[in-house]
């Protein structure tokens, strides 16, 4: 598989997973508002404060402050959902996913494309904005459902070749990252809560990870820190736990290279394998000893390093020295605009902006087109 194609497959699924998780988190947060939490009270007083934990959980506060130095009511919600300036808003994620898919349409199935295209067209349309306005729950549900459908379609239609492995790899890493970030909401919470409210908070996080049913089956209805951590970090059978996702990513890496599991042949396998071993041999008490927030930080650093190593192993193209250096203007340092412009210039087009009729013919007004042809045929 082309390295660039592998990269697109990887990012396509990462972005879908990212959009889905954000939608999940926003969905349960909206529900939380209906309860008597401080966030609920904030909502009642018309403040945006209740979205702040979501901003924190998705590590987007910095971008938000940059784009909205003096936020107004509704800015955070817009920023997270339909804001095109925010590269991680739901809309931006879906657009990136679709753009990656469009680039590798020859590698994915028609059904996968149709699903992704469908949800993007909905979210980017007026109808999508209206839906978000009038029924946010339905809006988030649609995104979650579409992502799940995409997953199902992929598993039912895509051949288990390298493309599949890169796609699953991206999804697993993104999911591990998001589950760990959601856990961090608890440590980021402005006012520490106890008792019933704490229980409510854990319930929310579990629901954001679709974990409440599994949790209840294993641990009953009482939410405790240790049990939630055990489930979301270390469960071997819950598909959104960090350990489960890292194991899936590790499996994919070994499928790609053909190296037996437990060994490594490149940097990314080494990173993923070490992280998996760490998770395999850790327990909740280790986490609490290190501190939850610190532990999650370490985890995210390790996940990022794995991602970076994948890029360096399979995608990174060392600078091609045979390519003549092009002088680029300061406003286009990477040549993005120049490249785009050149891409657009090509072709004897049937549909683009290159005129089909010769210019002199277009210049003639309709009334003059009927002039008869006379004279000798050359």
């Amino acid at each position: 598989m082309l390295s660039r194609v592998a990269d697109h497959m990887y990012w396509m699924s990462r972005y879908i997973e990212r959009a889905e998780n954000l939608a999940r988190l926003m969905q349960v947060s909206v529900e939380l508002l209906l309860d008597g939490t401080s966030a609920g009270r904030a909502r009642a007083s018309g403040s945006d404060e209740y979205w702040l934990p979501v901003l924190a959980a998705t590590a987007m506060e910095g971008t938000f402050q940059l784009l909205y130095p003096t936020p107004k009511s509704g800015d955070v919600a817009h920023f997270l959902t339909l804001d095109e300036q925010n590269p991680d808003s739901i809309l931006s994620c879906l657009r990136e996913a679709r753009e990656n898919a469009r680039t590798v349409r020859d590698q994915i199935t028609d059904e996968m494309w149709a699903e992704l295209n469908h949800i993007y067209l909905l979210v980017s349309s007026k109808a999508g904005a209206d839906l978000l306005e009038n029924s946010p729950q339905t809006f988030f549900e649609k995104i979650i459902e579409s992502a799940l459908r995409f997953d199902g379609i992929t598993s039912a239609t895509l051949a288990r070749t390298e493309g599949w492995h890169f796609l699953q790899l991206g999804r697993s890493l993104e999911r591990a990252d998001k589950t760990s970030r959601f856990l961090d909401i608890k440590t980021q919470s402005a006012d520490p809560v106890e008792g019933a409210l704490e229980s409510l908070q854990w319930g929310t996080i579990l629901r954001a990870c679709s974990a409440q049913t599994s949790y209840r089956r294993n641990h009953g209805t009482e939410f405790t820190l240790e049990r939630v951590l055990d489930m979301l970090l270390f469960s071997t059978d819950f598909p959104r736990s960090v350990r489960f996702c890292v194991r899936a990513a590790d499996d994919m890496l070994h499928h790609i290279s053909g190296t037996p599991t437990g060994q490594y042949s490149n940097k990314c396998e080494k990173h993923a394998g070490s992280l998996l071993a760490e998770l395999n041999f850790s327990s909740t008490s280790d986490v609490l000893k290190r501190g939850l927030h610190e532990y999650i930080d370490d985890l995210q650093v390790a996940l990022n390093e794995t991602g970076q190593a994948i890029f360096e192993t399979y995608v990174f193209l060392p600078q091609d020295t045979s390519r003549p250096q092009v002088l680029l203007p300061p406003w286009d340092p990477l040549g993005y605009h120049l490249q785009k412009q050149q891409e657009q210039q090509q072709q004897q087009s049937a549909s683009g902006t290159v005129p089909v009729a010769p210019t002199w013919l277009r210049a003639a007004s309709p009334g003059q087109c009927g002039l008869s042809q006379t004279g000798p045929t050359p």
Partner: protein, 462 residues
């Protein structure tokens, strides 16, 4: 439609079936059709919009019908033409006999913007230069097909032909009725067979790739569509690397040799070491690999000299010179001022003609007779007399009209036709081609960005 604006009789059954549906059903189906295209991403990108707005190429459900016998003649004419053009390109890049024999003045070739003197003496696999040609045809008042231009570089549009047919079958199956229509869906297989035919390294499965400028190109959908249909990789310039004169693609398992490149990038951008130095799309060293015969390009470099507007005037001569045949397809009459008879005709008919300077492009040095003032005409008369070699002239051309659905009724709209020709082991012409239609009344612009659309083209079995 015929010259009196009446629908030709063989449209009867199709029109009947179309209106048998009733207006609401028809409208519903048209909506479904657009949705289908949008869902499948059968779109083109509108340039000049940062968000990269995508639009569906407007589609008219009334198919263009071409009787089998009429098409057979067009097909024969296209085969004749591409054969001559390929012989011409071989000649121009080798002995240049046609110039030495005085059939075409050498200045015409030397002045052509797309002539590549660097390729004189270089052999291309199987001596084929234009492998894929998209020739634009129009019909004149007498119903004759005229060649408007030969697109012998990177013609696009074939994906719409295939998608239009698939959509018609899906949304309007009843329109086909018992009408026998020649299939178009063999095109991708024919294209792949052609690409394999020109592979320099004749292995069981030569590695053919499609080289795209990238996802921002308006025809990207087509590139990825064709790659998908053929089951070959679609690559960008940065995916390819040249080492020791061989071309490789970068894969997750290392470098893999490439044998044939179906390139959809213009000559100018294909290799920054040889042509435009600022190309971000090309592959450094590619031209050298082509020269050494280690990789085949479709179409070959330098074919632009054959679809140049001045060379166009000489295609009938080429057909006579190389094939010793009379041209089957007519073309827009082009008068060359250096020929005495033609010059006399031009000078007598200046107010009716369009005069172009042979060596200038982009509308510069052009006279549109019917719109020009007296002084301008006299100015051109002087210029032509002083330097006849530099001028050609053509009459203003009539485009035929075709029944098109407008607000629930059929009206005539101007159309052209772009058939696609593949030149490999044998020459294959896709049955029909892309019919583009100017959807606005009286308009001659079939371009989609300016109110143009397309329709399915049916070559009838009988």
């Amino acid at each position: 439609m015929d010259s009196d604006g009446r629908m030709r009789p063989y449209y009867g059954p199709v029109a009947e079936r179309l209106f048998g549906m009733g207006p609401s059903e028809l409208e519903q189906k048209l909506k479904n059709l657009e949705l289908l295209f949008l869902k499948q991403g059968v779109t083109f990108t509108v340039y000049g919009d940062e968000r990269g707005t995508e639009r569906v190429f407007p589609f008219d459900p009334v198919p263009r019908l071409i009787p089998g016998a009429e098409w057979d003649l067009v097909e024969a004419g296209l085969i004749q033409r591409i054969t001559a053009l390929n012989l011409f390109l071989y000649d121009i890049y080798h002995e240049q006999k046609i110039l030495k024999d005085g059939v075409i003045p050498p200045e015409v070739i030397q002045g052509a913007a797309h002539f590549r003197p660097e390729f004189v003496g270089v052999n291309v696999p199987r001596d084929i230069y234009i492998h894929i040609c998209g020739t634009d045809l129009i019909r004149d008042r007498d119903g004759r097909y005229l060649v408007l231009e030969d697109n012998g570089r990177c013609p696009s549009g074939v994906s719409y032909v295939l998608e239009n047919r698939a959509a018609m079958k899906r949304v309007f199956p009843q329109l086909f009725g018992s009408t026998g229509v020649r299939p178009v869906d063999t095109y991708p297989a024919d294209l792949l067979a052609m690409l394999r035919h020109i592979a320099p390294r004749q292995t069981a499965r030569p590695n053919c790739v499609l080289l795209t400028p990238g996802v921002h190109n308006s025809a990207y959908f087509e590139h990825s569509f064709l790659a998908r249909q053929m089951g070959i990789e679609i690559v960008e310039g940065r995916d390819l690397v040249v080492q020791d004169g061989f071309v490789y693609m970068r894969t997750t398992r290392g470098l893999q040799q490439v044998d044939v490149i179906y390139r959809r990038i213009d000559d100018d951008f294909i290799d920054p070491q040889v042509f435009r130095k600022d190309s971000m799309l090309g592959v450094p060293g590619l031209v050298d690999a082509v020269r050494r015969g280690n990789v085949a390009l479709a179409n070959a470099i330098g074919t632009g000299v054959a679809d140049d507007k001045v060379t166009y005037a000489y295609v009938p001569e080429m057909i006579r010179y190389y094939l010793d045949q009379d041209p089957i397809l007519h073309q827009v009459p082009t008068y060359l001022a250096w020929r005495e008879d033609d010059r006399k005709y031009i000078l007598e008919h200046l107010p009716e003609l369009v005069v172009k300077a042979a060596n200038e492009s982009g509308g510069y040095g052009m006279l549109i007779g019917p719109r020009a003032g007296k002084a301008e005409i006299e100015e051109f008369r002087k210029r032509i007399e002083e330097n006849p070699r530099n001028y050609i002239a053509q009459p203003v051309v009539y485009f035929s009209q075709h029944p098109t659905l407008v607000d629930g009724a059929l009206e005539g709209r101007h159309v052209d036709l772009r058939p696609f020709i593949l030149c490999g082991e044998s020459i294959k012409v896709l049955a029909g081609g892309l019919t583009r239609v100017a959807l606005q009344r009286g308009s001659l612009v079939v371009n989609s960005s300016q109110g143009g659309g397309s329709k399915d083209t049916w070559v009838l079995v009988n």
